[in-house]
């Protein structure tokens, strides 16, 4: 099947029916004038049919490139992806463009970040929702129109009948994203990628769109991969979560585990930076000190080491591999995982060395405690 001899296990045993996507050591590089930029650096994960996966990370962590690499949607001649992405047992990365086109839109669909730009401004909504249905399934014009109508109703677009002949600019952002979702659902795909589906939308609309996605996923028993920079989007919505940093997976677990037993310092930092309603007004956001590393000049050792409050000498020297935390399938790539004694010792050592990022974290811990008390006070509650 392939020339790779290292993954014998997956070759001999046919993939179980329940397994929909298996990604193995996926790497994507962009060859730029300044050098090779490795945006995804060896990502592996397994996704069961009907489940949902959240891929979380800052801008530039490689999460969008990962999704697009699996879908083979990276554009340009200077991109190269290696590894394997087995969709229902077939390696997407080895398919030719004709075979890929048969899967696109019909079995694997994608919802893009910005509904303002991902719908063609010059094509009527009805056509954009079902044009691929007509191509893939040979559905006639009238039947396609009927389906478009049903889909628009399903994604709760009011007066769908009259919207079918409209153009995208005549709809609000939230409505446009509903149209994108309707379009993605048209061929009833088994795997749906949603790349930051709510980032460009108002907060109130975000919630509705996420609920819509979750509902559709449930009803259709569809597998959903949600790419987002917002842990809050993932919380309570996806079954599993995968945290990415500098092109690598640094932590993966069920979403409950990720929140309940955060192990990677980066995941912890992301959580700390979520504003909470229990905090007093004007509590400063806790930003992660420093910047994400430039992918062409990654630090030696752990990519997060320069920003990590627990970083020790070992972290600057050796890149930690993903190692199991407990036996629930939870994995983290850290020498001093959060919640361990080693981690506590590292923190205290850095605190006494007055490491800047450690001091910021210590400050926020104190501020957090104060905020908690203010938030609990009766005056605040009645306001």
């Amino acid at each position: 099947m392939t020339t790779e001899g290292t993954v014998v296990a997956t070759l001999d045993v046919p993939a179980p029916e329940s397994e929909i996507l298996r990604v193995e050591d996926l790497r994507t590089s962009f060859f730029l004038p300044i050098g090779e930029l490795e945006a995804v650096r060896g990502v592996s994960f397994l996704l069961q049919r009907g489940r949902s996966l959240g891929i979380v990370g800052e801008s530039g962590s490689g999460k969008t490139v990962l999704a697009r690499s699996i879908m083979r949607l990276n554009v340009g001649a200077n991109v190269k992806t290696t590894g394997r992405a087995l969709f229902e047992g077939r390696d997407l990365l080895s398919l030719d463009s004709r075979e890929m086109r048969k899967l696109w839109g019909s079995k694997i669909a994608m919802i893009f970040q910005d509904p303002m730009t991902s719908l063609n401004p010059m094509v009527k909504i009805g056509r954009q929702v079902t044009e691929h249905l007509r191509k893939h399934r040979g559905v006639g014009r009238q039947a396609a129109k009927q389906t478009a109508l049903e889909l628009l109703n399903e994604v709760r677009i009011p007066e769908a009948e009259s919207r079918i002949g409209r153009f995208p600019h005549e709809l609000s952002g939230g409505m446009r994203q509903r149209v994108s979702i309707a379009s993605a659902l048209a061929c009833e795909p088994s795997l749906l990628f949603a790349d930051e589906p709510t980032t460009a939308l108002d907060v109130t609309v975000q919630h509705q769109i996420l609920n819509l996605l979750s509902r559709e996923q449930d009803q259709r028993n569809m597998t959903l991969v949600m790419v987002t920079h917002d842990l809050g989007v993932v919380a309570g919505r996806t079954d599993d979560t995968l945290v990415m940093y500098a092109g690598k997976v640094v932590e993966k677990a069920s979403t409950i585990e990720i929140f309940g037993r955060t192990s990677h310092p980066y995941t912890e930092a992301l959580m700390r930076s979520i504003p909470r309603t229990t905090q007093a007004s004007h509590t400063p956001l806790v930003a992660i000190t420093g910047r994400p590393p430039v992918a062409t000049h990654l630090p030696k050792g752990c990519a997060f080491s320069l920003r990590c409050p627990y970083a020790q000498l070992k972290c600057h020297e050796e890149d930690p591999p993903l190692t199991p935390i407990g036996n629930s399938g939870h994995e983290a790539a850290c020498w001093f995982p959060v919640g361990t004694d080693a981690n506590q010792e590292a923190f205290e050592r850095n605190l006494s060395d007055r490491l800047p990022q450690t001091l910021v974290v210590a400050d926020s811990l104190i501020a957090g405690k104060i905020g908690q008390t203010v938030g609990d006070s009766p005056e605040e509650g009645s306001a």
Binding site: G105, S118, L119, N120, P121, M122, V123, H132
Partner: protein, 317 residues
């Protein structure tokens, strides 16, 4: 829409008034006397006769009076008589204009037929060999003057292959076939330059369109490349092309002069040239007004085309 057409008509009238007046003034300040066109130099010894002719043609009246008189007649469709041939200007125009229009529209049509697929393909293969070859040809087409392409075409198609006549003109009333044979070479000469311009314009717009997110999302639906290019990419890339086509149609009406001379075609371009040369101010005036009207109409058509292409423009209007 009706509101727009009304405002366009008003603008057309104002433009025609301005242009006809300006032309009138300029023909007047040109050196040379119309009387030279009316009477041979040796006959001008007879002062009385000269004066009589001046009076007859109204040349002694103040300029504004003469303009007023011309305008009054023009409104009724009478653009005056040529002072060289004595023929009505209107008749001359209706005789010659269709010839120029036919060549022009065939030329623009041919250019578009060539430029649209080639431009789209070139953008699709941006930076690759087909794109570079096409860009090279476009550069060549752009830099060759019309009379050179015309001569090359005459050499190949008239002298060597004997497909089309080298010069001359057959009216459509003599049969469409013979007519098109005489249209072919002049239209092709014009089309080569136009097609090169159109290809480049469409290619560059198409390249930026193909970088849009909606093209990626169309591809992610599993649509074929051709479908994505022509049903998603082409329409948003047409605005500049439509502008340029409008401009070139406007320019070609007066600018087919070179091919009209080269292929001995009795079009409007040659007529205005000789009219200027002969100080036939009535003829110059008439043709100028006509070209102006044509320009304004073409511009209106272009504006309507924008609205047809881009629904977002429709709403703001």
């Amino acid at each position: 829409m009706p509101k727009m057409i009304a405002s366009r008509l008003l603008r057309l009238v104002l433009t025609l008034l301005t242009v006809s007046f300006a032309t009138f003034v300029m023909v007047n300040v040109l050196p040379g006397d119309a009387i030279n066109a009316l009477i041979p130099i040796d006959a001008q010894q007879d002062q009385e006769f000269v004066e009589q002719v001046r009076e007859e043609w109204g040349l002694n009246d103040p300029m504004l009076v003469r303009y007023g008189r011309w305008l009054g007649n023009a409104v009724t469709g009478d653009l005056g008589d040529s002072i060289v041939t004595g023929q009505p200007v209107t008749a001359e125009i209706t005789h010659r204009l269709p010839i120029t229009l036919e060549i022009m529209f065939v030329a623009v049509g041919l250019s578009l037929l060539l430029a649209v697929p080639v431009g789209v393909f070139s953008a699709y293969r941006e930076g690759k060999r087909p794109d570079r070859v096409i860009s090279g040809f476009a550069q060549l087409g752009l830099s060759m003057p019309v009379f050179v392409t015309g001569l090359i075409l005459i050499y190949i198609f008239a002298l060597k292959l004997n497909w089309f006549p080298a010069t001359g003109w057959n009216r459509p009333s003599n049969g469409i076939g013979p007519n098109l044979k005489t249209v072919a070479l002049p239209a092709m000469s014009l089309a080569i330059t136009e097609a090169a311009v159109y290809t480049r314009v469409l290619r560059s717009d198409m390249i930026s369109t193909l970088k849009e997110n909606y093209i990626l999302s169309a591809r992610a639906k599993g649509l074929t490349d051709r479908f994505v290019l022509f049903r998603h990419g082409l329409r948003p890339s047409l605005l500049t092309l439509v502008t340029v086509v409008g401009l070139s149609v406007g320019t070609l009406i007066g600018g087919t002069l070179v091919v009209e001379f080269l292929f001995a075609i009795p079009g409007i371009g040659r007529r205005i040239f000789s009219a200027i040369y002969q100080r036939d101010f009535m003829m110059v005036q008439g043709i100028t007004v006509l070209i102006t009207a044509f320009y304004v109409i073409v511009n209106t058509v272009v504006d309507v085309a924008y609205m047809v292409i881009d629904p977002r423009i429709r709403r703001t209007n």
